[in-house]
Symmetry: C2
Subunit: 365 residues, 2 copies
C-alpha cells in the first residue's frame, strides 16, 4: 500500500527535527576541536582488554554480552567510590539522558533546564512529547534556584560543568539544588574530569539525584559509546525497565573497565589538558577577548576584530577562516544567546599552537 507517511508519525516525533551532532570529518588531516574529545589516545590497557576479549578468532563475539554490563558497573562504582548497586551503564551518556526522560517525563510530568544547556535536551523532550521549560541563568551566570524549584517540573537536567559555557559549580550548589528541588535532579557530568570533582558520592545521600558521565570526554573513548549513571538503586531499577537489554556490546564493556581502572594514565594526560586550557585562557586575555572561565575541556569565547568589534558576523568570519585552514571548531549560529561566540575544544599543545597561529593570522587579515 502507498501510505501518507507524515500522517502516521507519533505526536512527539512529528514535532521534532533530528539533533545535529558536531561534524565528524572522515579524514584525519583536520585539527578537530569541535566536539570536545580527549586529545590523547585511551589507556593502552584498553587495547589489551579488547584483544583479550576477541581472542584468537572472535568466538566470544558470537555470544550476547552480559545484559547488565556487570563488570563495568563494578568498575564505575569503584572508580566513583560508591556501592555497586548505585552504578548503571549505557551506550554513551546520551543514552541515559534519553532513558531518564522516558522514565520520568510524560504529558504532565515535565522537565526543566537552564539556558544555555546541552542542546540535546530539547530534542529528547520533544521526542517524549513532554514539555521542557528552559530558565535562563541569572545575568551573572549564577543559578536562579527559586525559579527552578517553582517550575513544577518532575526532573531537572543540570549540566555541570555547563555546556556550552564551561562554567563549573561546586558541591554546595549541587547540594542546594538536590535538597530543595521536589523531583529528580540529573547532574550531567560529561565534563567533570576537568572540574576536579564529581557529585557521584552524593547519590548515597539523596534518592532524587542521578549523576551521569561518559568515557567520551575524559577517557579518550568517544568512539566506543560508554556512558554511566549513578543513582539510588530504586531509580536505577526504573532506568533498567526502559533500557535495551543488551545496550552495550562486549568490546565496549571491557574497554570501559580497562579505562576506569587506569587512573594513573589519565591523571597524567589530564594535567596536559588543564595546562593547555590555562594557556589558551591567557591567550584570550592577551587579546582582550571575552570568554567564560572554563571548568571543562573547552572554552566558549567571543572573538573581536582588530578594531574591537564583536558580533555574529565576526564569529562566523573567524570560524570560517579556521575551517579553511582545516581547523574545526563548534559554532552555534542558530542559538541567539551564544551566536557571537565559538567553542574551542582543548587539544594537544601542537593543536593549540595551530589554532593560535591561524587566529593571529585572522586578526591581521
Amino acid at each position: 500500500m502507498k501510505i501518507d507517511i507524515a500522517s502516521k508519525i507519533s505526536s512527539g516525533v512529528s514535532r521534532v527535527k533530528a539533533y545535529t551532532p558536531g561534524e565528524q570529518p572522515d579524514t584525519s588531516d583536520w585539527v578537530k576541536l569541535n566536539t570536545n574529545e580527549f586529545p590523547f589516545p585511551p589507556s593502552p590497557k584498553v587495547k589489551e582488554a579488547i584483544m583479550a576479549e576477541i581472542g584468537d578468532d572472535g568466538a566470544s563475539l558470537r555470544l550476547y554480552p552480559n545484559p547488565e554490563s556487570s563488570k563495568l558497573r563494578e568498575a564505575i562504582a569503584k572508580h566513583f567510590g560508591v556501592s555497586r548497586e548505585y552504578a548503571f551503564a549505557a551506550n554513551g551518556s546520551d543514552d541515559i539522558l534519553n532513558l531518564a526522560i522516558r522514565a520520568f517525563c510524560d504529558k504532565s510530568k515535565t522537565v526543566v533546564t537552564l539556558e544555555p544547556s546541552y542542546s540535546l535536551y530539547p530534542v529528547l523532550a520533544k521526542l517524549q512529547d513532554t514539555e521542557l521549560l528552559s530558565i535562563p541563568f541569572n545575568a551573572d551566570m549564577s543559578i536562579p534556584f527559586e525559579k527552578i524549584n517553582n517550575s513544577g517540573a518532575n526532573i531537572f537536567f543540570f549540566v555541570n560543568p555547563n555546556a556550552p559555557t564551561g562554567i563549573g559549580f561546586g558541591e554546595e550548589v549541587v547540594r542546594k539544588i538536590v535538597e530543595n528541588f521536589n523531583g529528580i535532579v540529573l547532574v550531567d557530568e560529561a565534563y567533570s574530569p576537568f572540574a576536579g570533582w564529581s557529585a557521584a558520592k552524593l547519590v548515597e545521600e539523596y534518592n532524587n539525584l542521578i549523576v551521569t558521565g561518559t568515557s567520551s570526554k575524559g577517557w579518550g573513548l568517544a568512539g566506543m559509546r560508554i556512558g554511566w549513571g549513578l543513582a539510588n538503586p530504586m531509580v536505577l531499577e526504573v532506568l533498567d525497565r526502559v533500557r535495551d537489554s543488551y545496550n552495550l556490546d562486549r568490546l565496549a564493556q571491557v574497554a570501559g573497565v580497562a579505562a576506569l581502572n587506569d587512573n594513573a594514565y589519565y591523571a597524567e594526560k589530564l594535567q596536559l589538558v588543564l595546562q593547555e586550557r590555562e594557556n589558551i585562557e591567557r591567550y584570550f586575555d592577551s587579546l582582550g577577548w571575552r570568554y567564560f572561565k572554563s571548568s571543562a575541556n573547552f572554552v566558549l569565547f567571543t572573538p573581536k576584530t582588530k578594531d574591537g568589534k564583536e558580533g555574529v558576523d565576526v564569529a562566523k568570519s573567524l570560524f570560517e577562516h579556521l575551517r579553511k585552514n582545516k581547523i574545526l571548531l563548534r559554532y552555534f549560529p542558530n542559538e541567539a544567546s551564544i551566536n557571537m561566540s565559538i567553542r574551542l575544544s582543548i587539544g594537544t599543545q601542537e593543536q593549540m599552537l595551530k589554532f593560535v597561529d591561524a587566529t593571529n593570522q585572522w586578526i591581521n587579515l
Copy 2:
C-alpha cells in the same frame, strides 16, 4: 530531598516490568542453546577489521564514530541489493523496534501483532504508553489477515520467521499484508538467513514496509549489537529523528561491514546449521514429539514422557534435567500458549549430540 520515586515515574514506564532476556551464563562450560546465537565464530574478516580500526594504540577510539554509520549502511544496502538510501543501522535490531514504536505509536496510534510473537513487543509498547493488540494465529497457524487489517492499528509488527515458533512465511504472504494493511508493516527478519529469503527488496516497491535484521543470529555477532532496517527514505528519516546520534560505536560499524561482505564464509556455515536443524527434526519425529517445522535456527518442541504425557510439568522436567547437565534451553513458563514447549537453538553437531544424549537419558529416567 527524599522523594517518593514511584510517584515520579512516567505513565508508560510505571506499568512495565523490565524485559527479561534469556540467561547469559558467565562461564563457557555451558552448552548454550537458549538465545539462538550462531554456533560458529564470525568471519575472520571481522577480527581483521576491528584490529585495523584500533591500530597501534587505539587512537581512533578517542574520536566519535560516524554518526550515520555510513559505510555500514552501504554494506547493508549492497548485501540486500537495494539502493543506499534505503538502509539504516542501529544498536541491534531491538533498537530499531524501539525506534519504530516511538516514531509511529502514541496514545491514539497503536500497534498490532500476532500471538505468539517476539515477547519484547508488549514491553516496548507499554514503555511508549501505546496500546498493543495481540491477535492469535488461526488454529492452523495461518495468518488472520482480515483481523489485522481491521485492527485500526498504525503499525503491524510481523516477525518472520516467527519467534518463538520458527514458522516461516513466503513472499506472497508478505506482499498480501503490505498491500492491504493501512499503516506501517514492520517485518522483523532476525531469523531470515535460515529461511533462505528476505523481503528486503520489497522496500523499493512499498513505502509502508520496514524490514529489520540483525547480525546476532545469522552472522555470529550477538556480542557486537549490530542491527539494520530497510525502508523507504521517508520512513528512515523519521527513525533518524528518534535514534541516538552516535548509536553504533566504531568497532561495531567496522565489524558489521566485514561480516556483511563475507558471504562465502557464512554460506558455508549456514549449511551446517540447516543440516543440524534437519537432523534434530528427524530426531523429534523418531520420538513422536510435536514441533513446529522451523524456518529459523531454533525448534520449538513439546516433549513427551515415555508413557506419552505432555504438559507444563513435563516441559519443566526436561528443561531442568538439561540444565543440570549444563545444557541451557529457553523455556517460557509464564506464556500460556507455549508453556508445554521448550525452544532449542540449533548448535554445532557436537552440541546437538549432547542435547540428544541428555534427552534420551531423561526419557529413560
